[in-house]
Symmetry: D2
Subunit: 351 residues, 4 copies
């Protein structure tokens, strides 16, 4: 594909970790050219000033937010911005004919009232909430094709839903029994400064936070309820761990029937057959976050316990890749009708 026929993308929110990871990953995408990197706060500045690792790689200066200019420069816009920005900006982008892949939470919840309850800010336009396709690629990929507005899943929901959907879909676990113990690296909190992310407060420390109060709960419940065909309510705990990247979701549920670990492994391998980014571990092997670091994989393992009748499901992703920018590119690929792993075949960085 010649440069002049490549899809032109703009990235909004380029001073955060999601934006800068889009730059890293898209540099190697054969069908894409980044034509504008946009920052409301740092327009005119070189991208490498805030991110010296981009020296010599991303040489253009940051653009400001200008919808008309974006319409001229780009075909697709990635929104990697804090909650609320997309609510305001995305309608304008769609209006000038741009396609949008939104990495924020603004278009994930179908019900505006639920959004307002959990995000404590005004919801986006109701019609757009309905229009937005929830881009959990391995589950809703078919719906993404050809769409204009994709809402990219949250990091915790991605690890969690990929770990639960096949079992719920098959009726093998009791949806009312689901307990999710999630752990995240610090990059998930973004690049903003606060005492919570101060190195000396995080290092050699493990913190539980937002127990049953994380804004990803309604997102998880929305999808699980749809899959289960009934309202699902989960117990959901989040923990901050002393590492930069990685999410592990350890999930517990009562098995309906007497399925073994091997049964679960077979079920999941069948469910994800042909999807290159989900890897189901062999019996007795559990994935670790480092085994997917820097890559778009989601790795899943199982422990089924006959003593208690429960299954434990362990699902890991790199929160910045499969939990954000990588899956966003996967959705671009699906949207455009390309192979879903185009430009995304990164081997995990190990060690």
């Amino acid at each position: 594909m010649a440069v002049d026929t490549k899809v032109r993308v703009a990235i909004v929110g380029s001073t955060g970790y999601g934006g800068v990871e889009l730059i890293r990953l898209l540099q190697g995408h054969p069908n894409v050219v980044i034509t504008s990197v946009i920052s409301s706060s740092n327009a005119g500045v070189a991208a490498s000033e805030g991110f010296p690792h981009l020296t010599g790689i991303m040489v253009q200066n940051l653009d400001g937010v200008d919808v008309q200019e974006m319409a001229l420069k780009a075909d697709v816009v990635f929104m990697a911005t804090p909650a609320g920005v997309s609510t305001a900006l995305v309608p304008q982008l769609l209006e000038v004919g741009l396609k949008v892949i939104d990495l924020s939470g603004d278009f994930r919840l179908k019900d505006g009232a639920t959004y307002e309850e959990w995000y404590k800010r005004p919801a986006a336009d109701a019609a757009l909430l309905q229009q937005a396709v929830y881009g959990l690629s391995e589950v809703y990929g078919a719906e993404v094709v050809g769409q204009d507005l994709i809402s990219n899943p949250g990091c915790y929901p991605t690890a969690t839903l990929l770990g639960l959907i096949p079992a719920i879909s098959a009726g093998w676990i009791d949806p009312s029994s689901i307990i999710i113990d999630a752990k995240s690296g610090v990059s998930g909190a973004g690049r903003g400064t606060s005492l919570m992310v101060h190195y000396a407060e995080i290092n050699e420390n493990l913190k539980a936070y937002k127990l049953n109060k994380h804004q990803h709960i309604p997102e998880i419940e929305q999808v699980l309820s749809q899959v289960a065909g009934e309202k699902v309510t989960v117990t959901f705990s989040t923990h901050l761990t002393p590492m930069t990247r990685g999410i592990m979701s350890t999930m517990y549920a009562n098995i309906v029937g007497d399925y073994t670990e091997d049964d679960f492994i077979a079920l999941y391998r069948q469910y994800y057959e042909g999807r290159s980014f989900v890897r189901v571990r062999d019996q007795g092997i559990y994935p670790a976050t480092k085994e997917v670091s820097g890559s778009n994989y989601c790795d899943i393992g199982f422990a089924a316990d006959a003593r208690t009748g429960r299954v434990t499901i362990v699902s890991v992703i790199d929160n910045v890749v499969k939990g954000a920018s990588g899956q966003a590119i996967q959705n671009l690929n699906l949207m455009m009708g390309w192979e879903e792993n185009l430009g995304l075949r990164y081997t995990p960085v190990y060690p």
Copy 2:
């Protein structure tokens, strides 16, 4: 207390983290003098050779394992050795009149067959298994007084049991619903070398391991069953986190009744009243492992969720202190009839 009236202690297993932590903590104990530091593998060598931080602090050379010599030099022996050593050595120590505080798992399980199933090695003498008092200080402290053989609890069981016992004891949670998601720092694996504890494999990594298979499971179930008055079976997951010290046990259970977080807080504060090492957090505040690092505290917090009818209990300890050597000294204090926090009033090291 003059030096010649101090209790003389010997430490066996001084080349591991448990042994060396006993040295650190006992240095400041007003009623104790360390008279022998024993290593089967490094007898005759200076303690500071393997542990340079002890330079100028512990100047005596390591002794070999010699029961008669121990009988002459010491009143109390701390066993900080791998599984199996105590099984063989403790009977001899008791016979020569020594008191023993055993930090290994060899005397924790009352049923030898269960020990053999989970530890894959021969169990200790059945009579001694019955004689040994399980030294979970805040719960069984009264039984420790005046005893000769104390079995010091495991690290995971300490954090877990202190977090569950008051609620089970009060009948506020359903024992059959208990799920324990535990996370540990790497020092819990000991000082032995292996790929599992290689820095480059642990750093920036979060691993699940031994799901439903950890040898601390029967220890937890033994105590919970006794407290509940019925056989309790738990789901128990362990995770290795990239930090040196600290255990967090995140526990889930169905509430029996409609108790709130405030109710749980009040219940636990009452249960642990007068016990200086358990600190129950205020409503909405969850403990972090660093907040107890280097100290003998166990900090506990609660989230009760009316949506699911479940309570989440978060309990943290320093695995090397309250999870091993600190609690062993606490048991020494109780055994001797001293204040339980004598020589143990260490403020957590923060940051």
Copy 3:
């Protein structure tokens, strides 16, 4: 010493790491009682609110800055505040008869103009700058006795000066050849939030910063010049390392003569004879920061290279203890005529 005869201390700047470490260390000091913990920004709040690890340990609320109240409550004041605060406050404290141990840089440089050049703010009163005794305990301890105003050395200068002074004093190294490559943990940057201390920016990262521009340079040169009897100018580099505590100063100098490692070891052991907090390693052994963590030790090792005629001196401290709060207490001990290690005999926390 009964409580009512203990020395009463107040700590100003209790929301920083230096202040909170003073609390940790002073809790165990037999001759001291903390009567006031002072914060200009958080008066009236419980100390444990900002530092939950102090729950149940420091139960009093924070006081505001009120000189008259301090005069009533305390005998000695520790100033653990950012640059500039002591310049303004210390004169008032001295006037009401309080003794002051200042952990900031405000009274370290004898020449106000030099202070203003490096600190970019007005210097303290010139007479007070002369009056203040520079409390590098092992070197100037005799001058500290009975004084009212002690200026506690900086963290980098402490590690560096203890590593260089004996050799310069003996004329064994060429003062004009000194190169100092210093590395620090992140706690040295304080608890303030910034991108520089964001976990995701520090973890798995090693940064050089302020090369030849660190404000500790004039402090080091002032002392070395005095010791050498000539003006000494050093090359001084600072690096931020991904750890919380610890400073290592690796120092290079040309040997004047043909002294060997054993000679240096003997020289330093003689120089520091009787000083419990400096430990000189044996030939071929170099100290590591973890070997002094949580303690007031400064450990030193040597490599003398006949090929180049240079000596490499490695000096490590815990920046929060010997580099700040520990040495401040050591100075209190000296000031009061007590043993210098009173209440400071903490074994390093290992691992």
Copy 4:
């Protein structure tokens, strides 16, 4: 380039970090196909068994060491093995017509006696030592073209030499004054287990080791002597830092003349013009290891101090990439006459 015309490579030593990084990087190389991954200890086992992150990526089993089979399967062999293996194996590989890129130290030193002194093992055949081209790509790239045996530089030498050669070459610094303070992440020590790389011993720790005794010293001196045209002897210190990847070499030298930072920057930019992997920072900006992590870059910054007449040069690389496997592939590219950055245009992984 069709698969059947791609260059076929074999990797020996695939159970170490260098080997597995070759796999990661070569997966994306357009002109190369990996036809054999060889392990003397694990032949017949799946590569993903020891490295689960390769699940679904490297599906072939490990081969044993069989020179005839290698000759059939491959065109080029990468040797990523401990010292000594290449000495024995490389002559056989060359004999059957294979090209070899050796990542070990076995062919770096031209003088066998020097090798034996520093490596404590027999040197390789003297003729081969002369034949081997030292593949410091930016300096000796022209000599690599078309060769059969490339000796890939060590990690410390790569960072150090790229930071010193332009200045020495220009005569701007005094070669007799060079002091090198190097710091490395733990992956540089390899995947072998030992107490030295135990997580609990490394985390929150900074260690100096092998002062003036590291086997990379003769390698550095050999090249610097050649460049300077006189025998150069350096002071060289190595430090182990608590991170997985990254090397920083902080170098000190006396400036010959009165060159400023801007002069050095201009000199180095001219020297490395057209070489895509060396990035010279702007005035006052120093590189950090994370800014090159996962990539083949070497970033360099300068501080010139008029007070002391010294320049401080900071050079950083990812030790596993530019310090090993990445530069090896760069050498393959040069050897084959391809663009040097082919298949190596990885943006650093940040954060």
